[in-house]
């Protein structure tokens, strides 16, 4: 299909996406759930235009209707998968509440500087119609919207996939079978290989109250990766990652739709797992990055990195990861995906005391969610993971709030440095310290779009 004939949302190719204008607005989730402040979680709009007088500031806030949602991840109603469809528009951000299971549909197009609530799909309706709860990852494909749901209506694993139509009506369960899958979390698909890959966190009833490390040994947390027959909507193969793959979380395929290579960050093992379809047509996996646990001088148990997120640049050249407990972000050149090369590293917060202050701001938490500009040069970072887990590892975040920083990334030779001029301090929010989480750009970003 020629890109010239297309006038739908997104871009004809990852290469075209990289040439898009610089992002000027950021949409970021901010939460009060678990903080003691009895206010709704909200979506902030941040000015990311360096020539603007309000650069690096929150310029609008959209409160959700109720309290206690725990907004977490979010996704668009349409992406580059509908680039060929002129009737589609990247207009609505779907903003789920993990704890409430409410899906907030936010209109970001009518006034991009001040998103407004379009409608809410109530968690009670989702539970009644699909027996699913705890929404996580939102992906669109064509006019369909698919959301991974981590539990059944009672918060038990393995959950499943909620299917919405383009008008946000509940179609039902997307999958035809969960097979022997024990847990759900993130997913990504690569339609030209008829494959979807899904990862495993835990049952909502296990992870929502907080992280009991001891439960990992009782198999309450995931350690497998699943390949699906995407058209048949059924799992076809599982990789048992074992001790190398404890808590496999964020799943990223190469953006190149012809590639079979993908990566997952195993949070607790602090490893990066790489998978691909080999020349013999078999899917293979290997561990390509292993972050060593670090000793804290006063603690009996060594501290794992806890890789809470990974992300690939739009040209599939760099992989970024965050060690939320250690406090570092790393950049690897994965030109050869079997042999990654560490090319950059910066520190902010963390439990090891390496960077307690950045840009004059006390950092509570560690580098957590990241979003990279389409051209690969600016990485936006936030510090909160999940309210109960924040409260365990970084209790001071209750009074300090979260923070967003920007990292300048060198795309020629590799390398990273924290930008000294950009900081959004969520400790200074009007209703008190809040915590910031996932970020998206109005025009699509490095984790939102899939090419078919």
């Amino acid at each position: 299909m020629s890109s010239k004939s297309c006038c739908g949302p997104g871009y004809a190719s990852p290469a075209d996406a990289m040439k898009a204008p610089r992002e000027k607005l950021l949409y970021t989730i901010a939460i009060y759930t678990g903080t003691g402040i009895q206010k709704p979680d909200y979506l902030v709009t941040i000015d990311a235009d360096p020539s603007s007088p309000t650069y690096s500031q929150v310029i609008s806030r959209l409160e959700m209707p109720g309290i206690g949602d725990e907004l977490h991840h979010m996704g668009w109603n349409a992406c580059s998968s509908c680039h060929g469809n002129p009737t589609m528009e990247r207009k609505y951000l779907i903003v789920p509440g993990v704890r409430s299971s409410n899906l907030h549909i936010v209109d970001c197009a009518t006034d991009p500087c001040a998103p407004r609530l379009h409608t809410v799909i109530q968690g009670a309706e989702i539970k009644a119609k699909t027996n699913l709860s705890a929404p996580h990852t939102v992906h669109c494909l064509g006019s369909d919207i698919i959301i991974s749901m981590l539990g059944d209506a009672q918060g038990r694993a393995p959950g499943g996939y909620l299917h919405l139509d383009k008008d946000f009506k509940i179609v039902g369960r997307w999958e035809n079978s969960m097979g022997n899958i024990k847990f759900s979390y993130d997913f990504w698909y690569q339609p030209r290989h008829n494959v979807m890959v899904s990862s495993e966190w835990a049952a909502p009833n296990t992870f929502m109250p907080g992280f009991d490390l001891e439960e990992v040994g009782h198999l309450k947390y995931g350690r497998e990766l699943h390949l699906w027959d995407f058209q048949k909507k059924t799992p076809k193969q599982s990789f048992y990652l074992g001790e190398d793959g404890l808590l496999p979380l964020e799943v990223r395929f190469h953006h190149n739709p012809d590639s079979s290579h993908g990566f997952v960050g195993a949070a607790l093992s602090a490893n990066i797992i790489h998978w691909w379809k080999d020349d013999d047509g078999e899917w293979k996996w290997e561990k390509i990055i292993d972050v060593d646990n670090q000793r804290h001088p006063d603690w009996p148990i060594p501290v794992p990195g806890v890789i809470s997120v990974i992300l690939l640049s739009m040209d599939d050249r760099f992989l970024y990861l965050c060690n939320w407990l250690h406090g570092d972000i790393r950049q690897y050149d994965i030109t050869n995906p079997h042999r990654p090369r560490l090319t950059g590293q910066v520190w902010m917060g963390g439990l090891l005391g390496r960077a307690p202050f950045v840009n004059g701001c006390k950092i509570a938490g560690g580098p957590q969610m990241i979003q990279l500009s389409l051209d690969g040069k600016r990485l936006y970072v936030t510090t909160s993971l999940f309210s109960t887990w924040d409260n365990q590892f970084y209790p001071e975040i209750r009074t300090t709030g979260g923070v967003m920083l920007m990292v300048d990334c060198n795309t020629d030779t590799g390398g990273m440095s924290i930008n000294p001029d950009f900081i959004v301090d969520f400790g200074k929010e009007p209703n008190g310290p809040s915590r910031c989480h996932e970020t998206r750009y109005p025009g699509g970003d490095c984790t939102s779009d899939i090419w078919t």
Partner: protein
């Protein structure tokens, strides 16, 4: 047997509320204007946890607390029903023992959640 219970909120100036014994405490207290945190509303997520200082509740429906948190008196208000008059500390001010860093302070086998805990050796 009377069907109402008196609930005292120790950290809200000792305010008292009469509530039904069949309804979850979160629902009863919020209906009377008490501003309380909550999340899942089915006993799975501890956002609404409170500390029971006196009295007894039935919270058989909760699946969020481990045995150490239970021993420290935590109750899940969205599913807990009062069996007797109760005194509670509510909100995050009562969460001093609810959260722990597992790398500093591991659980003993008998302190895990009920479904995987091993009996305590005596």
């Amino acid at each position: 047997m009377t069907t109402t219970r008196t609930i005292t909120l120790a950290n809200r100036g000792g305010a008292t509320y009469n509530v039904g014994h069949r309804k979850p405490l979160l629902e009863s207290l919020m209906a009377q204007g008490v501003d309380l945190p909550y999340g899942c509303r089915y006993g799975g997520c501890i956002t609404c946890a409170a500390k029971l200082l006196e009295g007894k509740v039935n919270q058989a429906a909760q699946v969020a607390l481990n045995n150490r948190q239970l021993k420290d008196g935590y109750v899940i208000l969205c599913v807990a029903r009062p069996l007797t008059d109760c005194t509670l500390a509510v909100g995050v001010e009562s969460h001093d023992k609810l959260y722990r860093n597992p790398f500093i302070d591991p659980l003993q086998p008998h302190e895990l959640k009920a479904d995987i805990a091993t009996p305590q050796e005596v």
